[in-house]
């Protein structure tokens, strides 16, 4: 990727309105902003209104070019729908993308009058947007206000030219514009074979619904996409997840046809590079992908979010989680005992799917925190261990509840490991009620937990062990008069969701697998209506 100070390569593209946009080498008459984007990237959609704002502020003086990495039709749809108010050009063969080499979208390059890159911004970051706006306006200009309801920062999606960055035998299926694969083969069973026995080879060790042509056809009818369209290549074997293969696995898991609406974005999400399903599938750790559902889809498809939310309570939860696991093993190849050699495993590998109890959540639900509208349904994935319960029935104050949770958080991964780890805190409605009564907002809960979850330094006196080798990286703080290492690197490592029934003061913490860019990052994808 081009960096600040690099000479901006020259190029010429026809804008979608017919005008020409040219960057010549050397000095420019004025500074210009290039915005690389994709039409299906949630972070790009988040950034567009802010860049519109900049475009309006700069008026004619502003020279902003959106460079779409997608074909004309989806680009025109996004321009109309978002709407995009600045000029847009198509980078049909991704040649300009390769010249500037953004690693993700959106990426902004501000090119100064000397023809060099003055600023770059990868993903969404309000502070950087304001810096770019100020540099272009030549005076302080704030286009992205803090706390306006959007997240302060959000990672982007991988740049189109890198999406299919696989080589060798599967290279031909990795072309993003050739998303077609062969149809699934058919298997004829005569009367002498029990279909339930035969299908035991197709998934988890519990009986599955035989994926007959008729049942799969009903799934396909509920999905607007063609059966041979490849949604993703599933690591670690990079098997092609076509709509038809997803449908066959959904039938086996017991899904209703309308679940295809959720499964398609879920398969995209699980193959998002940031989530790193390759590592999650191959690790010996406990991690399994936890699916968290938000928005109106919960009611529409009957997802349970209240009592027994982690249990066998609703067909929607159980079958969606199971379908994901069947897709991962049947198409990705991570079968237990073969590629998946997890030491102890996780009961969630049968099915691990919850919905947020938004009705009992007085704060912004998870998907709104991730930058989506409340009425937008989403799926979020987190590579997590099994839930670890926190019973706290005696606490009268919110702070006491959070203290109890912080003590469970301290044990995530391994007690003395204080870096590269994250956690989900699942707050039950009764605990939330007390916290809300005491005036806690969600960010205050997060910060309290961050500041109060620590491992006393004296616990590092009993010799070397997991976590003790990294103490130089740890942050120190005094908690209740005791010098401690803070468990987490940053408050954002603690994700909060409200779920469970209204009776019982039981919350839970779910430890992560290796977290961050070196491990797995939580991803949220929108579910289309």
């Amino acid at each position: 990727m081009l960096e600040t100070g690099d000479q901006a390569p020259s190029f010429s593209l026809a804008r979608i309105d017919g005008e020409k946009f040219t960057i010549t080498s050397g000095s420019q008459s004025r500074s210009r902003l290039l915005v690389f984007f994709e039409t299906d990237c949630p972070t790009c959609r988040l950034a567009i209104p802010y860049i519109n704002h900049l475009s309006r502020e700069l008026g004619k003086a502003g020279d902003i070019l959106g460079i779409s990495q997608d074909p004309e039709q989806p680009t025109r749809e996004l321009i109309a729908e978002a709407p995009i108010e600045f000029a847009v050009a198509l980078d049909s063969d991704l040649s300009v993308t390769r010249l500037y080499d953004p690693v993700a979208v959106p990426t902004l390059f501000l090119i100064g009058t000397d023809g060099r890159v003055v600023h770059t911004l990868n993903g969404f970051d309000k502070r950087a947007l304001n810096e770019i706006a100020t540099a272009m306006a030549g005076k302080p200009l704030m286009i992205a206000e803090p706390f306006d309801g959007s997240p302060e920062t959000k990672y982007g999606c991988v740049s189109r030219d890198l999406e299919g960055d696989v080589s060798g035998e599967i290279a031909e299926t990795a072309n993003p514009y050739a998303k077609r694969s062969a149809r699934a083969s058919r298997i004829e069973l005569d009367d002498s074979v029990d279909p339930f026995d035969y299908c035991m080879q197709f998934g988890d060790p519990l009986p599955i619904v035989p994926p007959t042509v008729e049942r799969v056809e009903k799934m396909l009818e509920a999905c607007a996409l063609p059966p041979d369209e490849v949604i993703a290549l599933i690591p670690p074997n990079y098997g092609a997840a076509t709509i038809e293969k997803i449908a066959a696995n959904a039938v086996m898991a017991g899904c209703k046809p309308e679940m295809m609406r959720v499964l398609v974005p879920l398969v995209r999400a699980v193959c998002d590079e940031r989530f790193n399903i390759h590592g999650v599938q191959a690790t010996t750790h406990f991690a399994a992908p936890l699916v968290m559902v938000n928005g109106p889809i919960r009611r529409e498809l009957g997802f349970a979010s209240a009592s027994n939310v982690f249990s066998n309570v609703a067909r929607a939860n159980s079958t969606l989680g199971r379908a994901l696991q069947l897709i991962l093993t049947n198409l990705g190849g991570a079968r237990p005992g073969e590629i998946d050699m997890s030491t102890l495993g996780n009961a969630g590998k049968f099915s691990y799917c919850i919905a947020e109890n938004e009705e009992e959540n007085p704060w912004a639900p998870l998907h709104v925190e991730m930058g989506f509208k409340q009425e937008q349904s989403t799926v979020t994935l987190f590579a997590g261990e099994s839930p670890h319960g926190v019973s706290e029935h005696m606490a009268r104050e919110g702070t006491q509840i959070l203290k109890a949770i912080s003590r469970a958080l301290a044990t995530v991964w391994s007690y003395r490991l204080c870096a590269g780890v994250e956690a989900i805190v699942v707050l039950c409605p009764e605990h939330v009620k007390t916290l809300h009564r005491d005036g806690f907002i969600k960010q205050a809960v997060r910060e309290f937990l961050f500041e109060n979850t620590g491992i006393p330094l004296r616990h590092f006196d009993d010799g070397a062990g997991e976590g003790s080798q990294y103490t130089k990286l740890y942050k120190q703080a005094t908690i209740d008069g005791e010098p401690c290492y803070l468990k987490f690197q940053d408050a954002s490592a603690i994700k909060i969701i409200v779920a469970g029934g209204t009776a019982g003061k039981f919350s839970a913490v779910i430890g992560s697998w290796a977290a961050g860019p070196r491990g797995s990052q939580m991803v949220t994808y929108p579910i289309a209506d």
């Binding site: 058919r186 799969v216 049947n330 290796a514």
Partner: protein
């Protein structure tokens, strides 16, 4: 009544590829050692490097490390072995 199933398993076509030719001997060869960056990997590879040189007469050992054990090796790491013209590479997992 006979039924027809849709095959739910991976059927992605993968042409077979041949394994690399095997070395007759390690003597005088350049061997790459890939540390996948798990704790203890360097201890194991240091020992392996000594053995390769002392016992098997390996001429040169090239070391490289993945930035994280959770993901496949990036091209830049593999390029280090290719640029050094390694005759063989040993990948070490440790914990």
């Amino acid at each position: 009544m006979p039924i027809t199933l849709v095959n739910p398993l991976d059927e992605t076509h993968r042409p077979p590829s041949a394994a690399a030719p095997r070395l007759e001997s390690l003597a005088g060869k350049t061997i790459g050692l890939l540390d996948i960056s798990k704790p203890g990997g360097n201890v194991f590879l240091d020992h392996l490097e000594r053995l390769l040189k002392q016992r098997y007469g390996v001429a040169d050992v090239v070391r490289a490390m993945k930035p994280t054990f959770t993901k496949p090796a990036p091209d830049s790491v593999i390029a280090k072995f290719i640029d050094a013209k390694c005759d063989a590479v040993i990948e070490a997992l440790a914990d």
